[in-house]
Structures are given as structure tokens and as C-alpha cells.
């Protein structure tokens, strides 16, 4: 990206992404005042946040055109991140395991 024409194009993209992020922020706050049910609000909020995060990662952090090695490292992290996110779910399943199964496990708290 050392070419001047290239960098001009990139800068234009940056401003467009910036605009999109601002709109996304507005949308998130707007959705809050819609007063929808909790699951719907969660879905909307997390969806907009994910879109915004992807924009930052792809354009500001240049992931849209990065080298393969970085993708591999991130893929690995995603795998372990999923294991980590399974943790609260596991714990809540554990809480209810006594109800689902016949093992009669006591609730954790």
C-alpha cells in the first residue's frame, strides 16, 4: 500500500467505515429505546456489535487483506475462544444437570 493512489483509496474507505460505525452506534442506542423483549434486544444488540467489530477488524486492522499466517493464528484463537465460551454454558448445564439427567447431581449454587 505504498502507492499514493492506493493510499488515497484506502483513506476513503476509512472514512466510509467511520461513518458506518457511527451509524451502527446510533442504531444500537436507538434499538434500546424500542423497548423490545430481552431475547430480541440481545439478538439485535449483539448483531450490531458484531458487525461493527468486523468492520474495525477488517478495515482498520487490515484483516481484509492479511497474510495467511495471521489467519491461521486467529483461527486457532477462535477455536480456543469457543472452548472458553463453552465454560459458562457448561456451568449452567451443570447447575441443571440434576434436572436433565438421572445422576442426581446437586446444583452448584
Amino acid at each position: 500500500m505504498s502507492d499514493h493512489a492506493d493510499i488515497d483509496k484506502t483513506v476513503r474507505t476509512y472514512f466510509m467505515v467511520f461513518g458506518a460505525l457511527m451509524v451502527g452506534t446510533g442504531a444500537t442506542v436507538g434499538a434500546y429505546y424500542l423497548d423490545v423483549s430481552v431475547p430480541v434486544a440481545l439478538a439485535i444488540g449483539l448483531f450490531i456489535a458484531s458487525v461493527k467489530a468486523s468492520l474495525v477488524a477488517c478495515y482498520f486492522m487490515h484483516l481484509i487483506a492479511e497474510k495467511r499466517l495471521i489467519y491461521w493464528v486467529l483461527l486457532l484463537t477462535v477455536a480456543f475462544f469457543i472452548a472458553l465460551m463453552a465454560l459458562p454454558l457448561l456451568t449452567s448445564v451443570i447447575d441443571q444437570a440434576g434436572h436433565f439427567t438421572s445422576s442426581g447431581a446437586p446444583a452448584a449454587h
Partner: protein
């Protein structure tokens, strides 16, 4: 002695050392904040429906947080502009955008300070309930990251920018890498904001 591939890209990976280093560091940051988000989910699930009540009681200031979100997003823009200025070879513009980035970080922290003191004034402390506990812990840790990122950017914008005259490419890469960290901090906030204030 010179370490190979400090500035120039490795022929096989197409990357220099710093780029790999910062991304590896960011993966560990993902796991750090991931563990805290996992804690958040667990506390929320385990709260027996008390969560909404605790959240309402905390009365977080949504307008201030919205401004803060905008400030951080703007700082991400100035950060990439600082890098782009270096690519174009414009040292003064780089310094301008660099200091703007650091300034945005400072504004963010000042607003955060007012938010915290307002909570303390109403006797809302981390010890009050689990919602406030995880709120203060996560936003506090995030604020520490903002401070770290500001120090890092301030160094390259200030004394570190001398490198421009001897090795411009190296400075450009370093600013790109510090930018990656800065954007990551922004990215974390993009999740923290709705999760704590809105949902």
C-alpha cells in the same frame, strides 16, 4: 548484530516480526477479555432474573457512554489516518493525527472518570452487587488498556518519531502495530458498551 526481518518482510510469511508479535499478543488479549465475558455470561445466567433489576438500579449514564463510544471510534479513525500520513511521508500530519488519537483517549478517560465518580456518589461500588462488580472490573481493565495504548502512541508520536528520518518504513510499521492494539481496545469497547449499558 541485526535481527533479520525486523523491518523487511520474511519471504515465506510475507510479514515482519513485529506484525506477528502484535497479533500473537492480541490473541492472548482475546482470551483475557473472553474469560471476563464468559464470567459475565455466567453471572448473568446465575442471577435468577435479578440481573435486569441490578442493571436498572445501577443507572448507568447512556448518553455519556454513547459519546464515549463515538470518541473511541473517532480515535480509531485518527489512528489509521496517522498511519496513512506516514505512508504518504507527511511527518507533520502524522504528528497531528497521533496527538489527536492520544487526545481522544484522554477525553474517553475523563468521561469515564465522571461516570465512575457519579456511581461512587450514589453508593454504587463494586461490592454492591455482581452486576456492578463485573462492570467496574471490565471497564476498569479496559481503561487500563486505553492508558497503555495512549502511552504507546504518545511515545511514537513524540520521541519515537525521530525514526522517521533514519528508517521511515520501520516507523510506519511500528505505528501500524500500535494501531492494531488501539483498534483492539476500541473493538472491546464496541462490545462492552451494549453489553453493560443497553442489554
Amino acid at each position: 548484530m541485526e535481527i533479520p526481518y525486523t523491518v523487511e518482510a520474511h519471504p515465506e510469511t510475507g510479514l515482519n516480526n513485529g506484525k506477528i508479535g502484535i497479533w500473537l499478543f492480541l490473541t492472548s488479549e482475546v482470551m483475557l477479555f473472553g474469560a471476563l465475558f464468559a464470567t459475565f455470561i455466567m453471572l448473568r445466567i446465575g442471577s435468577d432474573g435479578e440481573w435486569a433489576h441490578m442493571q436498572a438500579e445501577a443507572e448507568l449514564n447512556i448518553p455519556l457512554a454513547t459519546i464515549n463510544t463515538a470518541v473511541l471510534i473517532a480515535s480509531s479513525l485518527t489512528m489509521v489516518m496517522a498511519w496513512a500520513s506516514l505512508v504518504r511521508g507527511q511527518l507533520n500530519k502524522f504528528r497531528l493525527f497521533g496527538w489527536l488519537t492520544v487526545g481522544c483517549g484522554a477525553i474517553f478517560l475523563v468521561i469515564k472518570y465522571f461516570e465512575y465518580t457519579a456511581k461512587f456518589a450514589h453508593d454504587h461500588f463494586p461490592s454492591s452487587n455482581t452486576y456492578l462488580a463485573i462492570y467496574f472490573t471490565m471497564t476498569g481493565l479496559h481503561a487500563l488498556h486505553v492508558i497503555g495504548g495512549m502511552a504507546w502512541n504518545a511515545y511514537f508520536t513524540g520521541p519515537g518519531s525521530k525514526l522517521f528520518h533514519t528508517n521511515r518504513q520501520w516507523l510506519t510499521d511500528r505505528v501500524e502495530h500500535s494501531g492494531l492494539f488501539w483498534h483492539f481496545v476500541d473493538l472491546v469497547w464496541i462490545f462492552l458498551f451494549p453489553v453493560f449499558y443497553l442489554l
